[in-house]
Amino acid sequence: MAFLVGADCLDEMIASLRSNGRTVIGPAVRDGVITHDQIESASELPLGWTEDQDGGRYRLVPTGTDERFAFSSPSTSWKRFLIPERTLLLRARRSNGTVAVVEPEPEAPSVAFFGIRSCDLVALGILDRVFLDSDATDPTYAARRPDVFIVAVGCNRPGNTCFCASMNTGPTPTSGYDLVVRELHSEEGTEYLVDVGSERGADLLAGLASRPAHEGDLQRADRAHETAVASMGRELRQDYVPLAALDPDHPRWDDVAERCLACGNCTMVCPTCFCSTTEESTDLSGTEAERWRVWDSCFSLDFTHLHGGSVRTSTKSRYRQWLLHKLVTWQDQFDTSGCVGCGRCITWCPVGIDLTAEIAALAVPAAATDLGGRDV
């Protein structure tokens, strides 16, 4: 059952979450972008801001309205709150000829994700499969994830680089939340349709001023959804190819390698890229050592460094590995695509490489292109 609330209620929600001891992470304007950061009240939400996103370009743009969720993908994903950039795995100390090893208890901060979009919510589900639903549950992720209170938000204004509709991952959240908020904007003002997804979500809403939603409210939300679907800036057509049939020798891989900087930005901003490396450090005295897990990127040469050298020495092989893992072998590993259509890898690529365009080009058999090459 859905309820209608006023804008004040968003502030009450945040206050209520905070009074329960939760750190609230939500969208906020920082350094010229909308990102995810700790927020203390609804006044920090990006009221009146949207953004112009395109390949390699992001600019904030005022909306001239009182909408708070009129933007698309924030600059950072949520993964860093669950798999931090650096995590201490163990500390070792040598004394009197013995080595004592201490593995710190994983931190379990109590947090709420406020305003998570459908694409990013699906991404959390994918990370859950990677880190929870396997024989090797990740202690860091497992300590943080289950308790997270989720206030999802329907996406009304997908950006130029968004393609969640074609990935079936949005724009309206369908599950995995405690509460979902949908912004209903009109000339008369902005209200919020709230639906409940869990008992604790219902408990939170029960304490706030709301009225049951009318049929008209639901229709407005449906119309906003339809408009959002129709305004996706990009599309990854699922019928292009059986992706597994993508030709590993297609000349397009050389073409994209000429443009790719191998800087790793796409993997860093991707809400599902989870790779890490392990760093060992010792102090100067030789008595203490530490082991850290640190975010890593398959675009670096060191990523495949084995005895004698790196496996993927060319940028071509690294880009191909990333794209094919994301879209194809991820299916084999985790029974899902690794892409949710958030478009961050397109926006935050300094040279604007667009995976939807790459797939579209790769889907055309090499023999049919003027680049030549072998048949699929």
Binding site: G32, Y58, L261, A262, C263, E280, L284, W295, V351
Partner: protein, 265 residues
């Protein structure tokens, strides 16, 4: 640990500004720990008292710019068991390698009253172009923590943990907003070796490439992206031609320098 068993440390200077060796003195909190594990045998910046070689660990700052340098680095190498070059001068030739793109004889005539007193080479080159180097630590100047990591790794007998990925990875790990994508600021971060902790982008400036090219830099694509930010071809050249101008990937980016004055290595 007894004094006898301590490995000896030597610090050498070639053409440079001294900033990198000063980084060692700048390790104030860790300096005692360093001297606890290493005998500082030769470090003129710190002490005029020197001990004769050979030395276990040598840190070499600066580039090779004179005939005398060419001879001296051979001797340093002979005297050093493990030789680490520190900084952009030692690893790439430094800012003074701009001479490599022009006619040094002409510069000497313009700058010095009596050029005949000078004995200099036409080029400024990295130490590794003259002798074998065991490890290269990048930066202009080098990063203090990375220097301690290299020394600590040497003492522990392991490889130093010096990531070779781009500055972008450091930016994203610090949750910096990308200055190039979001602000349109020209930035060499995507093709620059990490190590500075993304210092300039953290303060909303573009990366100047102090740590030199990343392991597989796509300089042409980078130049294209810089042009999109509105930089002229000349400005792009100048961005590539600072502290690491003579690093192999950057030296050929000099499209706007008139061809006749460019020298071959």
């Amino acid at each position: 640990m007894s004094t006898v068993s301590k490995p000896s440390l030597a610090v050498w200077k070639f053409a440079s500004c001294d900033g990198c060796q000063l980084t060692l003195l700048d390790c104030e909190d860790e300096l005692l720990a360093v001297t606890d594990r290493l005998d500082i045998a030769y470090f003129l910046e710190a002490s005029s008292a020197t001990v004769a070689g050979p030395y276990d660990l040598s840190l070499v700052e600066g580039s090779i710019t004179t005939p005398d340098d060419v001879e001296r680095i051979l001797e340093v190498r002979r005297q050093s068991r493990f030789l680490v070059t520190i900084g952009a001068c030692a690893t790439a030739g430094g800012i003074q390698a701009l001479r490599n793109f022009t006619d040094v004889e002409e510069l000497l005539r313009i700058v010095y009253a009596t050029p005949a007193f000078l004995s200099t080479l036409g080029t400024s080159t990295a130490i590794s172009e003259h002798v074998d180097v065991d490890f290269e630590l990048r930066g202009c100047p080098i990063d203090r923590s990375q220097l301690l990591e290299v020394i600590g790794a040497y003492l522990a007998g392991r490889d130093p943990e010096i990531p070779s990925h781009s500055v972008c990875v450091e930016c994203k790990q610090k949750t910096n907003v990308c200055v190039m994508v979001a602000h349109g600021t020209p930035c060499l971060g995507p093709i620059t070796h990490a190590g500075c902790g993304a210092l300039c982008p953290t303060f909303n400036r573009g990366c100047y490439g102090c740590f030199g090219p990343v392991e597989s830099p796509n300089t042409d694509a980078m130049a294209g992206a810089l042009a999109v930010t509105g930089l002229s071809a000349g400005a792009i050249d100048r961005l590539f031609h600072t502290f690491n101008a003579w690093s192999e990937p950057f030296r050929d980016m000099s499209v706007s320098v008139p061809a006749p004055t460019r020298r071959q290595p």
